[in-house]
Subunit: 344 residues, 2 copies
């Protein structure tokens, strides 16, 4: 039995969507055991709506909920909140393998750093979503918001973290790593990019293919895109906005005339498949990489299917040994030797 | 008669697409006079394919062409190239109002800075494309690649430049200006963003609405998005890649079954209108703002219609007084007083 802990109160649709997603995940995986933290009476009321295996679910009553506007450091101090209580259990109990939360990103990062703790040697955790690409696969974008300011050593570690994720999460054997830059030539970018380029080129065990541009995230041939959290966040959200605009434009045009409406009926299946191919939630949230255990941040607006996917994702990468893989790769890379301390 | 100068040899499809676009632009605007720089015999051979008003076109023979791989500073030294010869004429001849080129971005920026020169007080020119948004309008993204590293004063000037462009190019009376950041809260981002936020809030004549995120470029309610050239470039190219992926996925799905094919026939008009709404070239290239005259960079892969649009765009913003508008706004803003010299 693999034990996961689920923040029952995180996200816009909590606890209803969280509980429904949890029940779905329990049905899909017979070796999953779930601990849900949150307001026991609310969660029980939701659970009462479904049939499920009661021996594989457990509720830990937490009276408090972190609001989306609470400051992350304040949030960490409240041990009674569903998220921080989950982090404390995750830290203390060896047999819990990971955490899923749709709560505030800032609080999830703060709790990860301050309660659970980082893998030995890792400077900062990083957020890493899997973004659909034109090859019917995904591109991992790391970091996309945890660290607005970065140093070269952090970007090099993001390459390690996301390469391990590409292996453990998506079965890539030698994932291609690109550095997000404003052009593909070696000399491109600011000093941060130029230095990082040099170190990434020399790193053992990293399949560095050079600089990549924003367009390569969706339309290139790269598995891992390394970015500081500022640029990664800009890229991720620009892509989200573009996809939303195009789908809105499509909807408007496809209902704009009787002919288009008839056409849309014929194309129902194709449109559905297309939307599925573009579903950013399909891969189950973003990983918060660099921590001692698997932590998955599900989108704040997650519906039950996204929660179930996040749970499935967390379980699968735990089983595929994400954390030992990161430790192995870090040892091989030997960043301390590669990067002078004053350039870290 | 308004005189424009056109780089006849810039871009992947030169001179054929440039000449065809020029002829189209001459037909569309009876008050346009065009000077085309480049290899005279090649340009004449292309011109011979069309009927046009020979009294409104002139060729200046330039034997050299700047390659996409030539370094910009090398390129500037070659006065015989179609682009740099055009810049020298633009600088020297008062009655030429602007330049259009589909050549290398680096060379266009270098020539603009080193030959034509900046508007008095402007620290650096900035590239500013118009990006389609969900409201059937455009969002101006400034800078998107000319300056990988920026200081607050530069970002403040980009706000002035793009606000003037929104007025002269798109008839916006009080354009909304947002600062591209990794979140909307006031304290978000690195010190560059935090300082710039403060100055933008205090600037006279700028309608600053606060921080915006990547998604607001396509899907928000903002006219001008201010960014350093690195983040702006990442955003622009992420959007390009996303749009390409979605159109490719659509094409694949819409030809995936007989039903979808029939549907696509019915939807032909709607699909065409949708693609037109998403056409990034519709607004005629990116402006290189901050120079003494109007300079438009057309996409390297520009087809004749894009070249014609770039010419139309250059002409229209010249006629609407872009340069005097920038000078007026700069004088009102009085950045020298607002920003301490050591924070520039």
């Amino acid at each position: 039995m693999d034990k996961l802990i689920l923040d029952g109160m995180g996200g816009d649709n909590a606890p209803a969507a969280i509980v429904e997603g949890a029940v779905k995940a329990l049905k899909d995986d017979k070796n999953l055991y779930l601990i849900i933290t949150g307001r026991e009476n609310e969660i029980k009321a939701e659970l009462a709506k479904y049939k499920y295996d009661t021996s594989r679910i457990e509720i830990v009553d937490c009276p408090d909920v972190i609001g989306m506007n609470d400051s992350p450091t304040e949030a960490v101090r409240n041990k009674q909140s569903s998220l921080m209580a989950a982090y404390w259990m995750l830290k203390k109990e060896d047999d819990i393998c990971g955490l899923v939360s749709a709560g505030s990103t800032g609080a999830i990062i703060a709790g990860g750093q301050l309660i659970l703790g980082r893998i030995r040697g890792i400077k900062r955790p990083a957020l890493c979503p899997a973004i659909p690409n034109v090859n019917n696969g995904v591109t991992l974008l790391c970091d996309c918001g945890a660290n607005a300011e970065c140093k070269p050593v952090m970007l090099c570690q993001f390459a390690v973290l996301a390469s391990a994720y590409a292996q453990a999460g998506f079965n890539k054997t030698n994932p291609k790593v690109g550095l997000l830059n404003n052009g593909t030539e070696e000399h491109k970018g600011d000093p941060l990019r130029q230095e990082t380029y040099k170190y990434l080129s020399e790193m053992q065990g990293i399949n560095f293919i050079g600089n990549v541009e924003g367009r390569d995230i969706n339309y290139g041939d790269v598995d891992v895109v390394v970015a500081d959290g500022f640029a990664g966040n800009v890229a991720l959200k620009s892509i989200e906005g573009c996809a939303k605009m195009i789908l809105a434009t499509m909807k408007k045009q496809f209902t704009s005339s009787p002919a288009a409406l008839i056409g849309a009926m014929f194309m129902h299946g194709a449109i559905k498949r297309m939307k599925k191919g573009l579903d950013f939630d399909k891969y189950g949230g973003a990983l918060l990489l660099g921590l001692k255990k698997v932590v998955v941040k599900s989108h704040g607006s997650s519906k039950p299917a996204s929660i179930a996917n996040s749970i499935k994702n967390a379980l699968s990468i735990y089983r595929n040994g994400l954390i030992p893989k990161v430790e192995d790769m870090l040892a091989k890379v030997d960043l301390d030797n590669l990067i002078p301390v004053n350039n870290e």
